[in-house]
């Protein structure tokens, strides 16, 4: 419905603190991109790479453009906007995504819902490979965890920043694109997933008001 009818799910309030963290991190890594030096985090985590310089960097980061690829068998345009790309001495690219949260304990990628982070990384790796870049299977999440135990607030929230490597596997992507294309070209609106919050809400709202409209008649 989003793609065919242009009917997107109702949006929530924007996550503009998270966007702000992304923006400041980009600025910080850009300093090292220009200087072709390692960021202190890369040194701390022994990552032999520097931020990648490329004339399309801004375009790849732009949510309206991103890195794109036309998937020939389906004629679908697949795109994604990245946070960062690093390059190692062998000329391989590491895709990088920034995440910001605030929770007790260490941040990990182990929660079931974080499968969406992994898929996101795998799509970006696939897109760069399809654009003829040499891409490492290892991508990095720069994960910022806001601390609530800091002594005084004054003017800042402090973060523990961790770099989490992730080994991507793009095997599922080709099949998935074929599947979603099949879904998109069918004439009937597909069934809702049983656990879809949005469709369930729409259904219940319609049922409740329908009940009363019937009683009235």
């Amino acid at each position: 419905m989003d793609r065919r009818l242009g009917v997107a799910r109702p949006p929530g309030f924007p996550f503009n603190l998270n966007n702000a963290v992304d923006k400041l991190l980009k600025k910080e890594f850009d300093i090292h991109r220009i200087a072709k030096t390692r960021h202190p985090l890369m040194e701390e985590y022994n990552i032999d790479a520097v931020p990648f310089q490329h004339k399309k960097m801004d375009e790849w980061r732009n949510a309206k453009k991103g890195i794109q690829y036309i998937h020939k068998p389906t004629n679908l345009l697949i795109m994604g906007a990245i946070d960062d790309v690093w390059v190692n001495p062998q000329g391989e690219l590491h895709i990088v995504d920034y995440k910001a949260t605030s929770k007790n304990g260490e941040v990990t990628l182990d929660a079931p819902w974080q499968i969406c982070y992994k898929r996101q990384m795998e799509i970006y790796q696939w897109l760069f490979r399809k654009n003829d870049f040499k891409v490492s299977d290892i991508g990095y999440f720069v994960y910022c965890n806001g601390r609530t135990d800091a002594e005084a607030f004054d003017k800042k929230i402090e973060f523990d920043v961790k770099v989490i490597p992730y080994e991507g596997n793009a095997d599922w992507i080709e099949q998935t694109i074929l599947g979603l294309h099949k879904c998109l070209i069918q004439e009937d609106i597909p069934e809702m997933a049983a656990d879809c919050d949005y469709c369930s809400y729409r259904k219940v709202a319609a049922q409740e008001s329908y009940k009363f409209s019937k009683q009235k008649k």
Partner: protein, 221 residues
């Protein structure tokens, strides 16, 4: 039945969504939690509490020449801050409770209290949305019904991200104080109207402005 400023806001926005939530316990789909805003709130509460225990004044209030102390009754404030309790008004006429969960309260002396709310945002400008005004109007109403005098004002501490600054493992903020006039005169009427509305059958559809209604409407094609 308990009604909060958020519920009233939903009542204005879409009576059907409000009815479903309060009458059937069916809520709009929840977004991901706003973890960073919650973190800022938590850190701010602790910072203000530290100053409350020390002198009752706070550098931010002093810098803005606000002649008030932080409300000194920490125990009571903790109750007002508690999501499952809050500051309440029980309405005998309807048997319903109007309540609000406050961030903080300022004491202007002679028993005059003013609601004080922390807002954090990543956008560059602070903005007083209609829902913020309603929130402060309700808080003012609740304070007055609980026997306090108020200057009929609400005060916000806005923390907006200082994007000109660098990251360096922290999110830098700029601080701003905003004071608004509050009007509690319409709150009781609105609250009773909303409660009365809940006792009626569900409305036949969403309001024309409701995002969920627009969405559902488009899908009927």
């Amino acid at each position: 039945m308990k009604i909060s400023p958020n519920s009233l806001n939903l009542y204005f926005e879409c009576p059907l969504c409000f009815w479903l939530e309060k009458n059937r316990g069916i809520k709009r789909p929840a977004p991901f939690p706003y973890e960073l805003n919650l973190a800022v709130d938590e850190v701010l509460r602790r910072d203000f509490d530290k100053h409350r225990a020390k002198s009752g004044s706070h550098p931010l209030l002093e810098a803005n020449n606000i002649p008030a102390k932080l409300f000194s009754n920490q125990k009571l404030l903790n109750e007002w801050r508690n999501n499952s309790k809050g500051l309440e008004y029980y309405d005998e006429k309807t048997g319903a409770i109007l309540f609000g969960v406050l961030d903080d309260v300022l004491d202007f002396g002679k028993g005059k209290l003013e609601p004080f709310d922390y807002k954090s945002t990543g956008s560059s400008v602070s903005k007083i949305y209609d829902r913020f005004q309603l929130q402060m109007d309700v808080y003012t109403f609740l304070l007055e019904k609980n026997g306090y005098a108020t200057p009929r004002k609400g005060i916000f501490a806005f923390y907006t991200v200082d994007k000109g600054n660098s990251f360096e493992d922290r999110l830098p903020f700029k601080k701003e104080i905003h004071i608004i006039d509050t009007d509690p005169s319409y709150i009781l009427r609105t609250f009773r109207e909303a409660v009365k509305f809940l006792k009626k059958p569900a409305p036949l559809g969403h309001s024309p402005e409701c995002d969920f209604g627009k969405w559902a409407e488009l899908l009927k094609l």
